[in-house]
Amino acid sequence: MALLVLMTFSASCILTASNTASLITDSGDTSVAAAIMDAGRTTLSAWLYEKADLYFHVGKPRSVDLAFTGTVFQDLAETLGPTAHVHREGDQVREIVPWLWMASRADPNNIQHYLVASFWLAHEAGQSDLARALLAEARWNNPFSYPIAMEDALIALKHGEVNDAASLLNAGLAFWDIAKDNESEEARHDRSRMLLYRALIHEGRGKKEEAIADLQEILRLYPERKEIELRISELRNGSQPSLLASSAWSDILRSDIDKRREHEGCKYDDRGAGYSDGYAGGCGTPGCTHAHH
């Protein structure tokens, strides 16, 4: 029996070591102790993040690939756990925040935790001030991160703090230029969103040329977007009053937030593929690696 225990324990160590080894290799630190500490921190942070995901789905764990199903133990365990696929809504979403808060403390350089927590605080729990305080802390720990500036700008814009939003969008676009991963599709999409919001702010302020410049920049990223071309010509002709800009950004903002919220449901059953390390234009839920275009 003792031999069996030893064998199984060794097997479990080998299996879990495959994950840990990659964490240590990825850290790029030459000190073994620092690498182990780093790996421990990242693992703890990932566990806390997974907890937030579990809370968001009211106790139903994420689905994973299984070699077999239908054993009596699996059936019993399933009976004991929650089976309904539901999400926390409204004020109830606050329950996920402590886990994300702890996750961000365990790994302050993982911006995903901050982004997820601030999204839910601002757009579901109605705590925009707390969301912005969290993003300020995120900026302190990750000073040149464009997703943090972008998220903060959108919350500011939602609450009519246009000057603040404009400064944050300027910062976000500047940070985007120096971001390491700005070649990805998600990064391009994020840049186009920031440019669009800034163009609308410029338009609202009557700065037509700046607005056109931003829209042309979007066209360079996505030449197939005919509606942007149309908008540029409308601005040049002066056929659209600039007063409509604030109404336009409110509509776009509402649609963006709704898309992100809706995205929570659709990705749940097929997420399980792992966690994105940084902001990937995702919906803002732990475990979600999908982009939201």
Binding site: A2, L4, V5, L6, M7, T8, F9, A11, S12, I14, L15, K51, L54, Y55, V58, G59, V64, D65, L66, A67, F68, T69, T71, F73, Q74, L76, A77, T79, L80, G81, P82, D91, R94, E95, V97, P98, W99, W101, L121, Q127, L130, A133, L134
Partner: protein
């Protein structure tokens, strides 16, 4: 039966004399106070994490108490040679093993019940919603599991020395807690010998995950139906019988040589 109760009483007195349970209770209190005093961006109205972490520590401490208590009883008495006094009385070895198991199980169960009380008290103070029936079911299942862990500890302690059996019991129960429920997941990434080994372990080791109702308690679900509870109770009873029987088999013909003890 009287002999079993008397032996269980001795275990009970021994545990009360030691300070393990008090230390763990204080530690749990410290953890809960720290959790309650956490200022998560001044966000009030969140309490589920207090229940969750409190129950996590309750499980952890319950596991530690049951393994330590069950693995030190028999070797401890052999070391102090009090086993000679006890076995010279009209007590069979079967009664001796059963008495030890009842004693350590009772001690662990009472300790865990107190831990639950503390967690529930703090969670209620924090404004948590708790379904009393689910909570009682969770505690009941936990107590059944403690019976299994105590039986495993006792089975190993019948033949091995204290350090070895405590280590083996900790390893076996850790594997049953953390690895066995995830074997189907691990196997999806493995094949050949490793997959076979995992399947073998899945069928061999006890499945502790079926005793865990924490998610229902934390997320505010109602109690489970009677059928799964009965099935799990029967599974727990079978495991307890198996390991207590194994302990008796290992202990019934054990020879004691005074010069090789202590």
């Amino acid at each position: 039966m009287n002999a079993i109760i008397t032996l269980a009483g001795i275990v009970w007195m021994n545990m009360l004399r030691r300070k393990d349970i008090y230390v763990l209770l204080i530690l749990l209190g410290v953890v809960l106070v720290t959790l309650v005093s956490l200022d998560v961006f001044g966000l009030g109205g969140t309490s589920a994490y207090v229940k969750d972490v409190g129950l996590l520590f309750t499980w952890f401490f319950g596991w530690v108490i049951s393994v330590i208590a069950s693995t030190r009883e028999i070797p401890g008495e052999e070391e102090k040679r009090t086993v000679f006094t006890i076995l010279s009385k009209p007590v069979t070895r079967c009664q001796y093993v059963a008495g030890k198991w009842v004693g350590v199980w009772l001690v662990s169960s009472v300790a865990v019940t107190v831990f639950y009380g503390l967690v529930v008290g703090v969670a209620l103070l924090k404004g948590a919603d708790l379904n009393p029936w689910t909570l009682m079911q969770a505690l009941y299942m936990h107590i059944v599991l403690l019976g299994v862990i105590c039986a495993i500890g006792l089975a190993f302690s019948a033949r091995m020395n204290h350090d070895a059996e405590a280590t083996v019991t900790f390893v076996l129960t850790t594997v049953s807690f953390l690895v066995v429920p995830r074997v189907p997941e691990f196997m999806a990434r493995e094949e050949g010998f490793k997959a076979g080994l995992l399947m073998f372990a899945y069928n061999l080791f006890p499945h502790f995950e079926v005793f865990d109702l924490r998610r229902r308690v934390v997320h505010g679900y109602g109690p489970v139906g009677a059928q799964p509870v009965l099935m799990i109770s029967a599974y727990g009873a079978l495991l307890i019988l198996f390991f207590v029987f194994a302990a008796w088999l290992a202990y019934r013909n054990k020879m004691f040589a005074r010069d090789r003890m202590g």
